[in-house]
């Protein structure tokens, strides 16, 4: 007998997650990458340098490794 006492009275039916939601998730994480991590892997050095300086304070504050 392993009745999970913590389970809700009525089991929840799974939410239907459309396929495009995963693309959206990837897009959101990619946006976070661009803002906080991009240091020249995708953009040119000059563009990445500018982006890095612009988002500099947030990168430090959000605990992301920075120069």
């Amino acid at each position: 007998m392993a009745a999970p006492s913590s389970a809700a009275a009525t089991p929840l039916s799974p939410v239907v997650v459309p396929l495009w939601a995963w693309a959206l998730l990837a897009l959101a994480l990619f946006g976070v990458y661009l803002l906080l991590q991009e240091n020249g892997a995708l953009l040119t050095q000059a563009q990445a340098g500018y982006l890095h300086e612009l988002t500099h304070d947030a990168r430090h504050a959000l605990g992301v490794p920075c120069h």
């Binding site: 007998m1 392993a2 999970p4 006492s5 913590s6 809700a8 089991p11 929840l12 039916s13 799974p14 939410v15 239907v16 997650v17 459309p18 939601a21 995963w22 959206l24 998730l25 959101a28 994480l29 946006g31 976070v32 803002l35 906080l36 991590q37 240091n39 340098g49 500018y50 300086e53 612009l54 988002t55 500099h56 304070d57 947030a58 990168r59 430090h60 504050a61 959000l62 605990g63 992301v64 490794p65 920075c66 120069h67």
Partner: protein, 241 residues
Amino acid sequence: MRFSHLLRHGALAGAVAGVSAASVLWLVVEPVIRRALAVEDARPSHEHAHEELVTRGQQVVAGILTAGIVGVLFGVAFAVVFAKARHRLPGRTDQGRVAVLAAIGYAVFILLPALTVPANPPSVGDPDTVTRRTLLYLLTILVGALLAGLLFAADRWLGGRVGRDAVRRTAVVLLGAAAVTALLVVMPAPDPIPGDVPAALIWDFRMASLAQLAAMWGALGLVFGLLVDQEEATVREPVAV
């Protein structure tokens, strides 16, 4: 529960999270960054200041905006993961399930990398090691996310074999603690702190950074939980006029 509604709630909760994070950045973190920049300016080798791409004012404003946008992006990502994981998360209410997921997110994305590659103010990082530190940081998050999934799987596996909930939960927590300890032992140490940076500055910055991130994840979990609960309530009792 419709996915499109969850997504809307996620974006809204993310916006509140972003505003919270931006406020703490401005009020708590920026004063510490100013102290760090003073240390940097005092260095004789500080010559690259002449080729500055953006002004300090632009950096402050753009930093606040960045924190806000990151909040919205995390809110959207949170909604997708919550929609997928909702029926498996522990908790009797949606508010409880959201709180559990937000706590897991804070542990995986914030606390774990804060232990392996702690936040540092300007004036500390060595530009030559930024790629290595970034990889360690991302690797920590990846391992943390895998570990969270593994612990859920272990919980389900033990559920069929261990009768008592308390014993099962204790076993899962011990497993997680052992895995985190192993990760911390294996991970190489990041850069040393330069001698001219006061220890108090490092401490204040790390606390301020964690406070900002706690504000972000706390606001995300609270507002999203409230919105989802509100939706559940209207579904349960349709218009009690």
